[in-house]
Amino acid sequence: MTKMKKTEAVRQEKDDPPKADSSRRSFLNKLWIVLGVLALVELAALVLAFFHPRKAREKAGDSEGILETGSVDKFAPNSATAFVRGKFYLARLEDGGFLALSRKCTHLGCTIPWSSKEMKFICPCHASVYDIRGEVVSAPAPRPLDLHPVLIENNIVKVDTNKVIKRSSFRPEQAVYAKK
């Protein structure tokens, strides 16, 4: 008899536990879940942050920043000169303007060679073709070659390889001219 009562009581407690208790319990359970999610987010943020300093360090060490390429007269109009260390081409347009073109194909990142015979950059990977201004002559490249800022000081052409300028088309003001 007593035993039956006991099991009955247990069952009752299982079916509907005391009200005050249940709200406290559900609150605590929810608190656990919230804390757990917070901990996971924190962990994910930490893991991502872990990968960051290496990236920053490499960027700083990779390029010395501003690269001196030589005097203005060294570059003939309508020519492109490769700079392996800075990973760019210094192009001099017909009218004497300078453009520093990244050698990275904007399609998938292959290195484009300059063909002085055809006056074009022809990507060996997927046959994108750019003209001397970096404009796309033939797809699949989606946009012109990226630019680096060019500075001309005391008739010396300098290129800031740390900065990359993305563009959707060539505009005359992108070219830099030596002061007369």
Partner: protein, 479 residues
């Protein structure tokens, strides 16, 4: 199922009594007994130990299996082969880890050192290389086998998802391993593949920088790929694989093969897994290992010249398993070729078992007689249609050039995709009107259509693309 209680432990271990022993054991016999006391056990005790060992195997295999599922033409041993290859890869991979150095200045030299100076170094690398490629092939065929025998129907739906996850892990393992030799082949394949990430809307650039560990493929990329390839992916594989197998056990084993038109009729006869299943598995494993060994002795894993970031080779191709996607790049705008279409493909793959099917065709090859015919027609249609579409796009259609005012993602992306989907839809409608098939057969038909189309793209990319990615005959492409 047989539920007789069985003893897998040994109560007493009777030894040979003195009068059963040879008269006076010689020195060698005494030494032998001292090293292997078990040889003194009686026949009965040895039998007990054998059973103990068998019961260890039975932790991984059921005691009894339906006899029909042992049939070679049900599984082709493909799942087992994948497991064997994974273990071959783990073994050779650990050996390679002792020699390989994941730094751009040293990686290529360490591979040369491995091949030229380490005893069997080249063989170990060959086995690792060819096993990795074979694993993609075997895992893919396994996926096809599961699909075409309807082994994704309830209650096996979620195991299809796990299997797809495993397949992605295998692909990713191959991809991360591809960079490690740091030769021209590796460097440029990874450059263009990570370049593809750029087109992912929103997070693409961020993800690319994270994976490359810097602005371009370099030391950061190599250490990232090395860590992923040798730690994260193998561990994930080893966790997911047992989960995959356990789900098979939970649903009572493999699908029971049956001829079309016959209802599923229980288990049929069951036989003990030892030796029926075990011997078959060992036979498959041994033949496969022997094959991989001979193949690796005959054919060397490719190694180009050392990576040169200033010189892209012509043509630069992705690893062969991504050639289908690279081929799509030539026909679609990058956002579509690299993001929209692969995402749609992946979603379709994962959603496949959750479609509300009219027929559960588990165990019937190609669903039914009608299903077989429809699959054949779809396969032929794709086999003829895809090359024609490639040729047309290559030589005839110049949509983007004619409509320069409309952005290329519409002319080269949205429009061709819509045309493609319309073609698939029309094919589906036409077949449905002629065959009046259930949706089980119809889904299979569309699957075959897309599968064959993708295979044709892959084959085109691997063998029919030469310098400047122009269409060439395979025998001209090599030069």
């Amino acid at each position: 199922m047989d539920r007789r209680p069985r003893r897998y432990f040994i109560k007493e271990q009777p030894m040979l009594q003195p009068d059963e022993m040879p008269d006076r054991p010689s020195l060698f016999q005494r030494i032998r007994y001292s090293i292997f006391p078990s040889t003194l056990r009686t026949e009965k005790a040895r039998e007990g130990y054998r059973r103990l060992f068998n019961s260890l195997i039975l932790h991984f295999r059921p005691r009894n299996v339906p006899e029909d599922t042992l049939r070679w033409t049900l599984t082709w041993g493909l799942g087992g082969m994948a497991v064997v290859l994974v273990f071959l890869l783990l073994g050779t991979g650990v050996l390679l880890k002792f020699v390989y150095q994941p730094l751009p200045e040293k990686a290529y030299e360490s591979i040369l050192h491995l091949q030229n100076e380490v005893l069997f170094g080249r063989l170990i690398r060959n086995i690792h290389h060819w096993s990795a490629n074979a694993l993609i092939l075997v895992a893919f065929l396994h996926l096809l086998r599961v699909f075409f025998t309807g082994a994704f129907h309830a209650p096996r739906q979620f195991n299809w998802v796990i299997g797809s996850g495993l397949f992605l892990l295998v692909l990713f393992s191959n991809f991360t391993g591809y960079l490690l030799p740091w030769d021209q082949l590796a460097f440029w394949a990874i450059t263009i593949c990570t370049g593809m990430l750029e087109y992912m809307p929103g997070i693409g650039l961020w993800l690319q920088a994270l994976i490359q560990g810097g602005p371009e493929v370099g030391p950061g990329t190599l250490s990232n790929f090395y860590a992923i390839h040798t730690a994260i992916l193998p561990v994930s594989l080893l966790i997911l694989m047992p989960f995959h197998f356990w789900r098979i056990r939970k649903v009572g084993g493999l699908v029971i093969p049956r001829p079309p038109g016959q209802g599923s009729g229980g288990h049929g006869q069951t036989v003990p897994a030892i030796p029926n299943l075990l011997l078959r598995e060992i036979a498959v494993a041994l033949v496969l290992i022997a094959f991989m060994l001979v193949f690796s002795m005959l054919f060397n894993a490719p190694l180009g010249s050392k990576a040169n970031p200033g010189l892209s080779p012509n043509p630069t191709k992705a690893p062969w398993y991504f050639m289908g996607i690279q081929e799509m790049l030539l026909h679609f705008h990058p956002i579509f070729a690299l993001f929209v279409i692969p995402t749609l493909m992946l979603v379709a793959l994962l959603a496949l078992p959750y479609i509300d099917y009219q027929l559960n065709t588990a165990g019937v090859w190609f669903a039914s007689t009608k299903g077989r015919r429809m699959a054949l027609i779809a396969g032929l249609a794709a086999l003829i249609g895809t090359p024609l579409a490639i040729l047309a796009d290559e030589y005839l259609i110049e949509v983007a050039a004619r409509l320069p005012t409309i952005p290329t993602w519409v002319t080269n992306g949205l429009v061709p995709l819509a045309v493609l989907l319309a073609a698939v839809g029309a094919f589906h409608f036409f077949m449905q009107r002629n065959c009046a098939a259930s949706n089980t057969e119809a889904v299979q038909m569309v699957f075959v259509l897309l599968l064959v189309a993708f295979l044709v793209l892959t084959v085109t990319g691997i063998w029919f693309r030469g310098e400047g990615m122009k269409l060439v005959w395979p025998w001209d492409a090599g030069t």
